[in-house]
């Protein structure tokens, strides 16, 4: 077997094992915590009959192992159970919302990845001069403000004062792509700002790291211009770390989406999760938590696999 393939297979196996462990953690995490789940769902004033009913409904009377296997089996066959609060099928509710969330994350990625790489290149080209310092300063301040506040700051200045974009991101099925993009312009901007900072700083660091190699010095001595050196020599060699950075930030995007959706009342997974956490609707929370965690783990795994595959030493062993 090709050594690179072997590494990829190992990483895949590890990822699947991790997903399995995470499902246990999410399931058990809501059980082993102190306190009675039925009690915390119904509140302190619940009658004993109501508590008994709730326990029955949650299946709390059965042994944990059986419940976990039922739950896992259901998830693997696409049955996520029903929500406690309104009795709706969770899989149907999640279906369209997951699509909306991915739509938002996709456009944020489309906007932020090229921009981050371009700004990273500019920062390296004008290293320690004012463009570099300006970019670092702006990105440092966007890191220091939580996502939801960036959302409101943009909503206030861009949406309300300037009136350039809608302040509420409502989308529904009949909308054309253009209308949808207009509706999500502000959330996309927030997410872009949030991940841009991390991605740009890491890109800058990755390229700077490569810039210290001997072949860069050779290129400089040949008399190539700075941009040619960065574009032709430094950039191809920093693709692996950059792809890694991009993947990690896409994973981060998946989490940032939760808060941003609440800010702009966007009908996605994040809002669904937060709503049902405050309603203490356990099956929904477990399902959403598992989906978010899986996306995060899968993206991290892809990042690792890409960096294995992009390493020429592993692709062409002696």
């Amino acid at each position: 077997m090709h050594p690179a393939m072997k590494l990829v297979a190992q990483r895949l196996a590890l990822g699947i094992f991790l997903l399995f462990l995470v499902s246990i953690l999410i399931f058990a995490g809501t059980l082993i915590l102190p306190g009675d789940v039925a009690q915390s769902i119904l509140g302190q004033s619940a009658t004993p009959e109501a508590l008994a009913n709730m326990r029955e409904k949650l299946g709390l009377n059965e042994p944990p192992m059986t419940r976990y296997l039922d739950w896992l089996g259901g998830i693997l066959t696409g049955d996520l159970g029903t929500a406690l609060t309104n009795g709706q099928d969770i899989a149907t509710s999640i279906g369209s919302r997951l699509g909306n969330t991915l739509f938002l994350a996709f456009w944020a990625a489309v906007a932020s990845v090229p921009l981050a790489i371009f700004l990273g290149l500019v920062a390296v080209r004008y290293r320690d001069r004012w463009p570099d310092k300006l970019i670092s300063g702006i990105t440092l301040s966007t890191i220091s403000i939580p996502e939801f506040l960036i959302g409101y700051v943009l909503m206030y200045f861009v949406g309300v004062k300037l009136g350039w974009a809608p302040t509420v991101a409502t989308i529904y099925d009949g909308m054309s792509l253009g209308e949808k993009l207009n509706a999500i312009s502000l959330p996309v901007m927030v997410l872009t700002l949030v991940v841009l900072a991390h991605m740009m700083r890491m890109t800058r660091a990755a390229i700077l790291n490569v810039m210290q190699s001997a072949y860069i010095e050779t290129a400089e001595l040949k008399g190539l211009t700075m941009f040619t050196i960065i574009w032709r020599h430094a950039f191809p060699n920093s693709i692996a770390p950059i792809v890694n950075v991009v993947m990690l930030n896409l994973a981060y995007l998946v989490v940032g989406v939760v808060v941003v959706e609440v800010v702009f009342t966007y009908p996605g997974m994040g809002q669904y999760l937060v709503d049902h956490v405050s309603k203490r609707d356990l099956p929904v929370v477990q399902a959403c938590g598992l989906i978010f965690a899986s996306v995060y783990i899968v993206l991290n795994m892809v990042a690792d696999i890409v960096s294995i595959l992009s390493n020429p030493r592993l692709r062409h062993p002696k």
Partner: protein
């Protein structure tokens, strides 16, 4: 000593001290009571109400001061908890090695493979949302990050000659951890503490904003945003004040942490 502090770190230190001072003496500084209704809804800024009033007519400056108190208190307690748990476990893992190290490290890897906000939401869905619970949940989730750092630093120190000397002369595990490793690992940990503190401030603000953190009528910066967010669409900027305070606090603490980190690396003969 004071002369050697660079300008940026000095500014950071002053602002951080100011915030902590206001947080400590909030009841003396705040012009009105925390839940006292003193005017109309969303009054503009005036001589009586420097920042105007909030969504039910409470003085916004007072809310911000008390809010800072709650936010900084929870963040500080959370940071302390995460540091004590994280560094003790990290040092233990480094000193013990073997299966104990593997067990703790792999568990930490597992917890870190889930985004902390998602895990916090899952846990808070079955726990009562009170201040002690929030501190414990945030502190323990964040302890995984501290554990990584503490273990990495301690593994380097544990192979030093003086640690070996201590072990050979028969000192126990507690001595090695607290008298040999801790003093030498302190500076990177202190620098990291600043960053963790900021992370805690952002974390608790986010949870409160989502309605799963500090509960009303208590004020905190995230909660103030939640209470006043409806004003935004009418062009009332009351909800934006926490952005200013959180950003200045975060940047000041970062400046101080950067300076501590630079100072310690130059002590080790690294880049100054």
């Amino acid at each position: 000593m004071i002369k050697n502090i660079p300008f940026a770190a000095m500014v950071g230190l002053c602002f951080t001290a100011l915030y902590f001072f206001v947080a400590l003496f909030a009841p003396l500084i705040a012009p009105y009571g925390m839940a006292e209704i003193v005017g109309e809804v969303w009054e503009p800024a005036s001589a009586d109400h420097w920042l105007g009033t909030d969504n039910i007519g409470r003085d916004l400056l007072t809310r911000m001061i008390y809010g800072g108190r709650t936010t900084i208190f929870i963040a500080t307690m959370g940071t302390i908890l995460s540091f004590v748990t994280g560094s003790v476990l990290g040092f233990l893992a480094a000193v013990l090695g073997g299966w104990a190290d593997q067990l703790i490290s792999r568990f930490v890897d597992l917890v870190m493979s889930i985004p902390s906000l998602i895990l916090a939401l899952v846990i808070l869905s079955v726990m009562p949302v009170t201040v002690p619970v929030l501190i414990v949940v945030m502190g323990l989730l964040d302890a995984t990050r501290v554990f990584r750092l503490a273990r990495a630093v301690a593994v380097d120190i544990a192979v030093m000659d003086y640690v070996e000397a201590a072990t050979l002369r028969g000192e126990g595990g507690a001595w090695v951890i607290f008298r040999e490793i801790l003093p030498n690992a302190l500076s990177p940990l202190v620098a990291e503490m600043g960053l963790r503190f900021i992370f805690m401030v952002l974390f608790i603000s986010t949870l409160s904003f989502l309605g799963l953190g500090v509960q009303p009528p208590m004020a905190d910066w995230g909660g103030i945003v939640k209470e006043n967010k409806d004003g935004i669409v009418y062009g009332i900027g009351a909800a934006l004040w926490p952005a200013v305070t959180i950003a200045t606090l975060a940047i000041s603490v970062n400046l101080v942490a950067d300076w501590i980190l630079n100072r310690t690396t130059s002590l080790k003969g690294g880049r100054g």
